[in-house]
């Protein structure tokens, strides 16, 4: 099912063009990542998709409707970056308001507010006002509001930024669990996190769509060439490269980051290279931390 269609989307401010003719199409399903450096236009794209701002040119539709259209109420929700709840009201009161606006009765809205807060492990904060919560807790409340009424699409702008590791993991678990019924679009700088969660990645850079990567399609490489990524521990890089290069089917071994290596190989000649590599590691009494079939998201997006 078509989720989002963007055609030649341009957003221009007085002195700057933030989005330069973005065109892409996304389907419902597994979570979608939106990545790119600061100033790439991620939040601007989010704001257009949520109807907060209008594009200067181009067309965008969500479920076939224009952003902000009443047909999208209850279907699309968002965690807006830096938006704050009203400091005068308790968390419960505000979430009840949101739920009531989505069609819940007063009694149902109270239960719904409790439900989404319990998802975020914030049931104890129900009666508190935003000022009494830490930054991370306020962020989780803002995510909770996006889950009211189980919308079809949830846009999360940097959902785990500023959260401690335990709560960041909780957010990832929730996204993973809800991914069957809700499509998430997640903007984040944490590529490892996005790699765990997402099936599609949109890479923005300087307002241009740099690439659209389908992570479910192995690593996107041609059939004649496959990759293994290995994170070694206590091993001489030169020795590792020289040794692994001699394995059957390996065409190149490239060090990426500290103790990380990307191995290019021919899967037809060496369909079980991963097992060969583990034996090689064992024989040389090296130690490894992680072995990944394919390239990491970071490698896919930023290598070459």
């Amino acid at each position: 099912m078509s989720l989002i269609q963007c055609k030649s989307l341009v957003k221009q401010y007085v002195d700057k063009t933030v989005l330069h003719g973005l065109s892409f199409e996304l389907e419902t399903g597994s979570p979608i990542a939106l990545v790119g450096p600061n100033g790439a236009g991620k939040t601007t794209l989010f704001s257009i998709l949520c109807g907060y701002i209008r594009p200067t040119q181009g067309e965008v539709t969500i479920f076939g409707e224009k952003p902000g259209s009443s047909a999208l109420f209850n279907r699309v929700s968002a965690l807006p970056q830096d938006a704050q709840l009203d400091p005068r009201f308790s968390i419960q009161r505000q979430l009840m308001l949101f739920a009531q606006l989505q069609g819940f009765s007063k009694k149902q809205s109270k239960l719904e507010a409790e439900r989404v807060l319990s998802l975020m492990q914030l049931s104890d904060s129900l009666k508190q006002k935003p000022a009494a919560l830490s930054h991370g807790m306020r962020k989780r409340v803002a995510i909770a509001q996006a889950l009211i009424g189980n919308p079809d699409l949830v846009l999360l702008d940097e959902p785990t930024a500023g959260l401690d590791p335990v709560n960041a993991r909780n957010i990832r678990d929730i996204v993973h669990e809800l991914a069957g019924e809700t499509t998430f679009i997640i903007s984040s700088h944490n590529l490892a996190e996005l790699e765990q969660l997402c099936g599609t990645v949109l890479h923005l850079n300087d307002g241009h769509l740099q690439q659209q990567v389908d992570l479910t399609n192995s690593d996107g490489a041609e059939p004649q060439l496959a990759f293994l990524t290995v994170h070694m521990d206590k091993c001489s890089p030169d020795e590792f490269v020289n040794t692994v290069k001699t394995l059957n089917g390996v065409s190149a071994v490239t060090p990426s980051q500290k103790n990380h290596f990307v191995i290019d190989y021919n899967p037809i000649n060496a369909p079980l290279l991963d097992q060969q590599l583990l034996r090689c590691i064992d024989e040389n009494q090296w130690d490894y931390r992680q072995l990944i079939k394919g390239k990491t998201l970071e490698e896919q997006l930023f290598s070459n």
Binding site: S47, C50, G51, Y52, I53, R54, G68, S70, L72, F73, N74, V76, S77, A78, P80, D82, A83, Q84, L85, D86, R88, F89, R93, Q94, L97, F98, Q100, L101, Q102, G103, F104, Q108, L111, E112, R115, L119, A142, Q145, L147, G149, N150, I174, E177, L178, E181
Partner: protein, 289 residues
């Protein structure tokens, strides 16, 4: 079933108008809770009550005494007429006469102050972003306006009832029906007079990110537009009608009318309100939030 399933399935209102009105009313109710259900709102109300108490005892009652004492002499009547206050004597009860004149000039200020923050702070905080994925900007705009109109109406009715109590206490036997008539007449008039001010603040609040800025803009714009329109109509009398865009332009005329005639100008503020709301609606719809 997943633990993340919604508490209960719900259907969004199918009829768009019903949905729009429902959302607007929910937003309006939340504005009322903001005033009557929060500590800060109650403090604001208490402050207003204290100010009104001093105004009632020092302004309204004193003025009422003055009017009563001078209403019977011919010399005083001539003095009132010559100074433009002749219609003060037209009201059957002096307390209402004083209240009418004071409220006409003072309550617009209260309306501007109370209604200044309809959407400005929320826009600055990003709070509107939580709302616009659930209801239209029109609902927010109209809902906040309705909420503020109810609040301003509450202030008018509250102060009028205290004036009524004073009038009934001062004239216990003779003036009950007349007092209620005056209360109703003034309430209707004042609610109409104040609506364009609330609508003006809805418009200005939709244009800026601070209620203080909205108030400053209101004062500046009102002054500049009044000055410009006065100058324009002086040099080009054909453009005299332009003055009717200014909220409160009919107030000086209202003070010169017999009580029974005061509703004859009610169309002016109602039309001004409609125009300001339509402009405000477009500002709200077009702006970034």
């Amino acid at each position: 079933m997943s633990s993340f399933t919604a508490t209960q399935n719900h259907m969004p209102p199918s009829d768009q108008l019903t949905g729009f009105l429902r959302s607007s009313w929910i937003i309006a109710q939340f504005e009322l809770i903001r005033l009557f259900g929060t500590a800060r709102g109650l403090l604001t109300l208490f402050t207003f009550a204290v100010i009104w108490y001093f105004m009632l005892t020092n302004l309204v009652m004193t003025a009422a005494n003055f009017i009563e004492q001078n209403a019977s002499t011919r010399m005083s009547t001539m003095m009132f007429n010559s100074s433009g206050f002749g219609q003060l004597l037209a009201w059957p009860i002096a307390e209402f006469s004083a209240y009418w004149r004071i409220a006409l000039y003072l309550f617009p200020v209260f309306a501007v102050l109370f209604a200044a923050d309809q959407t400005a702070s929320d826009r600055d905080r990003g709070g509107l972003r939580f709302l616009t994925t659930r209801c239209s900007r029109d609902s927010i705009f109209l809902g906040r306006f309705i909420g503020q109109t109810i609040i301003v109406s509450f202030l008018v009715v509250g102060t009028l009832l205290t004036t009524l109590a004073v009038a009934l206490y001062a004239h216990p036997a003779e003036s009950w029906p007349m007092s209620f008539y005056c209360t109703l007449l003034i309430a209707t008039n004042l609610l109409a007079v104040l609506m364009p001010y609330t609508a003006m603040m809805a418009l200005l609040s939709a244009s800026v990110r601070s209620p203080i800025l909205a108030i400053i803009l209101a004062v500046l714009l009102w002054t500049i537009v009044l000055w410009s329109v006065t100058a324009l109509s002086e040099y080009y009398p054909a453009f005299d009608f332009v003055k009717y865009i200014i909220p409160g332009i009919q107030i000086s005329d209202l003070t010169q009318l017999q009580p029974a005639d005061t509703l004859s100008l009610i169309h002016i503020p109602l039309l001004q309100t409609a125009v300001l709301l339509i402009i405000g609606r477009f500002v709200m719809a077009k702006g970034a939030i």
